[in-house]
Symmetry: C2
Subunit: 201 residues, 2 copies
């Protein structure tokens, strides 16, 4: 009995490996539809090269960087939009530069709230709860305070929640929203990294 393999999966495997259509289909059937596994099957048969990271581009946008004077801190950031036309505008470029500068100066750890792992949130909640032990406050009040403290935590570690380094009264999110309104496309920070010399040791 063979699994039904969608044509688009076969096409994806062909694009990634350069192997023939029938070979890709057979490999996918053998792998139960798992594309990684099917690639290994093809490679064992000598029909595919080691797959490079899938380079398919779903979004438009730009990669920007910022190196702080002296070269001890550097940032790489990807900001997405919907068309390359918008990605090339001065407004978009300025936003990218500001966001990279924000990451360099304020060292956020996540681009958005959804990127914060659940176990980190649980650890934070546990710490806040312990801090209020014996406070005598009723449970619902304590829960409200915990959510409030979590808000401050987001403002420290989540890029879009951080106060802007240009104007601490404004959140980074608002600068992004202003660009969205002006350019008429959805814009979001896909990812960033911040390197500081020596911190890996």
């Amino acid at each position: 009995m063979s699994v039904t393999i969608p044509a688009e999966l076969v096409k994806k495997l062909r694009d990634q490996t350069g192997a023939g259509m029938m070979e890709c289909k057979a490999a996918l059937q053998e792998a139960g539809g798992d594309i990684e596994e099917a690639t290994v099957v093809l490679r064992k048969r000598g029909l595919a090269q080691a797959a490079k990271k899938s380079g398919r581009t779903a979004n438009e946008g730009q990669i920007g960087s910022y190196i702080h004077t002296g070269g001890k801190i550097g940032v790489l950031i990807e900001v997405n939009c919907e068309t390359d036309f918008v990605a090339r505008t001065d407004d978009f470029q300025n936003l990218m530069r500001e966001l990279a500068l924000q990451v360099a100066a304020a060292s956020p750890q996540y681009a958005k709230r959804d990127d914060v792992p659940a176990e980190i949130l649980e650890r934070e909640r546990g710490i806040y709860r312990a801090q209020m032990e014996g406070s005598g406050k009723p449970a619902p009040v304590i829960e409200k305070i915990i959510e409030g403290k979590l808000g401050s935590f987001y403002e420290q570690v989540v890029l879009v929640d951080q106060p802007s380094i240009r104007d601490p009264k404004v959140k980074v999110e608002q600068a992004i929203k202003a660009a969205i309104a002006k350019l008429g496309e959805n814009i979001s920070v896909a990812r960033f990294v911040r390197f500081k010399v020596g911190e890996t040791n």
Copy 2:
């Protein structure tokens, strides 16, 4: 019974949290010498802020970046040396630029062989072995061929093993060694990232 806490560990926790010496020592004892755990203890008592990523600098060096024309590919790289004096020389800066360019063009996945996870090596070995099944070659010969294929794998995915994009007859490692000989300090690539627009989707 209490654990003996080395003075330098207490100092490190103080530097990271800003809490007092006795409080840090007590927290470390409670945490059995685990600095992460001790930080949580201090925070529960309201004695420390959420620790920022430890910024202690063990090595010197620089952070460099390269954005490919059009802004669709970007690289951030950290190269370490022993003194800031060397990090600021033109030779070092040129090496950094060349290495960033190499990462952008040849897309390595690891800085050095030690960074390749053991399970990836095992997967590769398994694939090579399967490719030679039924070849009739004696086992020792097969093992030699496998090691040879692994060498080619390293040349694909490990930065220092890659052929230089400037001169494919020369490995990237040799360019680094030439800089080491000229500048008289140990130089190594600590880490790098390569972003391509849209590849996270």
